[in-house]
């Protein structure tokens, strides 16, 4: 036990300097609409992301209905199916998950968890949200544009994304999609600068990096990655916009549409787009996963009343995954026609990244070992996350291992894999996190009975959707087929399985309505929560009031004396010691 000099003349953190400059809202508009308070911006981000996410959810039902019952839903033509598919994918990955984890949880939790009064650039933070909203509106607007939204698939591969054989390719759909993405990236960059600099400069006294909760580590690393990865999508979008609007040939080779209609382009390289896209696209997976990793670590630790096992390893793993994820992008391109020797390199880097990821999984389950596990709803979601993440992560070893990928690439196996690992798993964390932090945001607990119903249906239902789907892909059914039709190698039983998956998807979808109802109902009728209902150590639970007031902490910022995981410390009277508790631990500490 090393007790370091208390109350020395350390440097004054920027958070205390910023206290003087903190912007104070004067009226209703600046308080709730054009607010510069990160907590309000967080709610705005989360609300917008949820709203557009619901659209994507409904689109997934329509797709599933077509896949399960192609004849009954003959009115869903291939055109509309591809439009639904594209919008579902793009919304879920970018406008829901990225925005919710970074814009929603990042804005709410970073200042509170590092002990800052607000983000360092509140005005830019506000702009970030409004540009994001504009991006969402442009995207939603494409539903009403002539020709409808683009049906190019969320990967937007040229040439098909901008040719006439694809819905929206020669209409407004693709243009609005590209413009919306460009806006999103601009807006995100503004927010991202805030998240990064707040973690760097806004930390309160005593909050060293190694005392940060893993939630902050996850969101911080993901933001750094996003700042460096999104420019690749930006460049790809701008260049495709040039090709589509003024007819340049960045990605467009000489092609003859429908065998008769030569296009004026010449010499462009479609593969170049894929490199740019996946240079963004692969880090994007971890941009969604790392915040989930961080949050789930804190949920498990708090609700098992035990410190997270191997905190240092967890931090190193986050950094290692973040760095490695920039050199694995071409594992999405094993059968793209790129030079086959790249396969050796990218398969190796991809499988190496499995090692730090596996370490994180081990440390989560080892945290449960000899814990005092409270099976609260956040804990249940955390356990469900581990199951689905391990499942989805392991199927990633099939697809990352270049030659095993060859028969599985572009089949339903891929769809099942990425939905399990970056759809279901992170969303389960989102739910767990909402059940965990809702009491801090509203001052009331979410209804327990509705919560448990929501958990069981969502977890078991999602597993029943996506686990069997792997086997549909193993049979050989390709993805992005609105219907497989009569195909010799597909046995009729696959159609039955498809019907089952569709029904499971509808049930899981409707369970989310219960969750939304619970969110609204509990604002008024939930059990009052108090300041620290989970008896957690981190700073957001030690605020002056609940919900935290403007400026987060009372007159003085908290000073941090310990790491974020002092649960069940031997000899201590309580089973948790808040980070800002100055009392020395009683003798008998470990090590």
């Amino acid at each position: 036990m090393v007790d370091l000099t208390p109350h020395g003349a350390g440097p004054i953190s920027a958070a205390e300097v910023a206290e003087v400059e903190l912007y104070h809202p004067h009226g209703w508009w600046t308080k709730y609409v054009f607010s510069q308070d990160a907590k309000v911006i967080a709610i705005q981000y989360a609300g917008t992301a949820t709203a557009i996410g619901l659209v994507a959810l409904v689109l997934s039902w329509l797709m599933r209905l077509k896949l399960g019952f192609p004849d009954t839903f003959a009115s869903i033509t291939p055109d509309t199916y591809y439009q639904f598919m594209t919008m579902h994918g793009m919304i879920m990955v970018i406008y829901l998950l990225t925005a919710l984890f970074l814009g929603g949880f990042g804005n709410y939790l970073i200042p509170l968890m590092v002990g800052a009064r607000d983000m360092v650039f509140p005005y830019v933070n506000m702009l970030s949200f409004w540009i994001y909203l504009l991006a969402v509106l442009v995207l939603a607007g494409s539903f009403f544009a002539p020709g409808g939204p683009t049906g190019a698939g969320w990967t937007l591969y040229p040439p098909q994304a901008i040719t006439s054989g694809t819905p929206g390719g020669q209409d407004w759909g693709i243009i609005l999609m590209l413009v919306s993405l460009i806006l999103f990236i601009v807006g995100f960059t503004m927010g991202g600068l805030n998240y990064v600099v707040t973690v760097l400069q806004g930390r309160t006294r005593g909050m060293t990096l190694m005392r940060l909760p893993l939630t902050v580590w996850g969101i911080f690393t993901a933001t750094v990655m996003a700042l460096l990865a999104f420019p690749a999508l930006f460049v790809a979008c701008v260049m495709m916009l040039f090709d589509r609007v003024i007819g340049s040939s960045f990605f467009m080779p000489a092609i003859v549409e429908m065998g008769t209609n030569p296009l004026p382009h010449d010499g462009g390289s479609p593969i170049m787009f894929q490199h740019l896209f996946w240079f963004f696209g692969h880090p994007e997976v971890y941009i969604v996963a790392l915040p989930a990793f961080g949050i789930v670590s804190d949920l498990i630790s708090t609700h098992a009343r035990k410190n997270i096992f191997g905190y240092r390893m967890m931090v190193w793993a986050i950094i290692g995954i973040g760095a490695l994820s920039f050199v694995v992008w071409a594992h999405h391109m094993y059968v793209s026609g790129m030079h086959p020797y790249f396969g050796f390199f990218f398969a190796t880097t991809t499988l190496i990244i499995a090692i730090p990821t596996a370490i994180k999984v081990y440390n989560w389950v080892l945290t449960l070992w000899r814990g005092d596990i409270h099976l609260t709803i956040p804990m249940l979601f955390a356990l469900a996350f581990i199951v689905t993440f391990v499942n989805g992560g392991l199927t990633g070893l099939f697809l990352g291992n270049v030659v095993v990928d060859v028969p599985l690439a572009q089949t339903m196996f891929v769809v099942a894999h990425f939905h399990m690992v970056m759809g279901v798993a992170p969303i389960l964390v989102v739910f767990g996190a909402i059940y965990h932090w809702y009491p801090k945001v509203t001052g009331r607990m979410l209804n327990e009975a509705m919560g448990r119903f929501h958990f069981w249906v969502t977890f078991l239902g999602a597993y029943l959707i996506f686990f069997p789907m792997h086997y549909v892909g193993l049979v050989g059914v390709p993805r992005r087929y609105p219907e497989i039709g009569d195909t010799a190698f597909v046995p009729p039983s696959v159609h039955t399985l498809n019907e089952f998956i569709t029904i499971a998807a509808l049930v899981v979808g409707f369970a989310q309505m219960v969750f939304l109802f619970n969110l609204l109902w509990s604002i008024r009728h939930g059990r009052p929560a108090g300041d620290n209902p989970w008896r957690a150590t981190t700073l957001e639970w030690q605020t002056a009031g609940t919900p935290p007031p403007h400026g987060n902490f009372g007159k003085e910022l908290p000073v941090v004396y310990r790491w974020a995981y002092d649960y069940s410390v031997p000899g201590a009277s309580e089973d948790f010691i808040p980070q800002n508790d100055p009392r020395p631990r009683t003798q008998g500490g470990s090590a």
């Binding site: 007790d3 040039f242 010499g267 170049m272």
Partner: protein, 234 residues
């Protein structure tokens, strides 16, 4: 993708260097107290705006590194016909250098508390940048007059794309620089302008470096350099 991988390796080196001072090997559960023994692990005293701009410039650098990567990837195809770059780009480069020097002068004037010199330097910086943008427009006009439109050949498409991207960043910077100019003429107190002037100078220096790299790429020197390196290696 070599340009972007090299650029990100540089960023990773900077991040790694910073992380190496953050005691990532320490065991936080053994250390209680406000940890004043290790001031480097606390939030630094640098102004957040400077760090914010630094991070933003890293993002800008990534953007241009990616564009250059795309340029190199596209360059190896057979139909690539680089057009002769307009001569006026030399003059434009000189203008941007002048702007950068003027803003560096403004920083030292602000530090020394010389409001007149500060105003003059800021004004020269802004005017030189406007001249740069005007010159770029002239370059576009000349280029188009010679028949090199954006759709003519991928090489010309890239010329317009790269210069436009860089120009947009200069325009964005000019909004900030315009505000600093305005404030400098409004008040005689130069000390309040130290930070904004420093930020502008930092932004201009980086955009100058970006421009010089782009200029080398557009002139074909970068490709020559790669060929020479390849020749040396084999």
């Amino acid at each position: 993708m070599s340009a972007i991988v090299i650029f990100l390796a540089l960023i990773a080196a900077v991040v790694g260097w910073w992380l190496s001072h953050q005691r990532l090997m320490s065991k936080p559960w053994l250390e209680a107290g406000p940890v004043t023994a290790f001031p480097e692990t606390e939030a630094s005293l640098m102004h957040p705006a400077k760090i914010g701009l630094g991070v933003f410039l890293a993002v800008v650098g990534t953007l241009f590194a990616l564009l250059i990567s795309a340029y190199f990837m596209r360059m190896v195809y057979a139909d690539w016909q680089p057009a002769p770059v307009p001569k006026i780009l030399w003059l434009n480069t000189a203008m941007l250098v002048l702007a950068s020097i003027a803003l560096q002068g403004a920083v030292s004037a602000a530090h020394k508390g010389q409001p007149d010199n500060l105003r003059l330097a800021l004004l020269i910086g802004a005017l030189a940048s406007v001249a740069f943008l005007g010159g770029q427009l002239l370059a576009w006009r000349d280029f188009a007059a010679e028949g090199y439109f954006a759709t003519e050949n991928p090489a010309t498409s890239f010329f317009y794309l790269l210069t436009a991207m860089h120009g947009l960043h200069i325009i964005g910077g000019l909004v900030a620089l315009g505000r600093v100019n305005f404030r400098a003429w409004q008040s005689a107190r130069s000390e309040t302008l130290v930070l904004p002037t420093e930020l502008c100078a930092m932004y201009w220096h980086v955009l100058l470096v970006v421009w010089v790299v782009l200029f080398c790429v557009l002139m074909g020197w970068a490709a020559d350099l790669i060929d020479i390196c390849r020749g040396l290696l084999t």
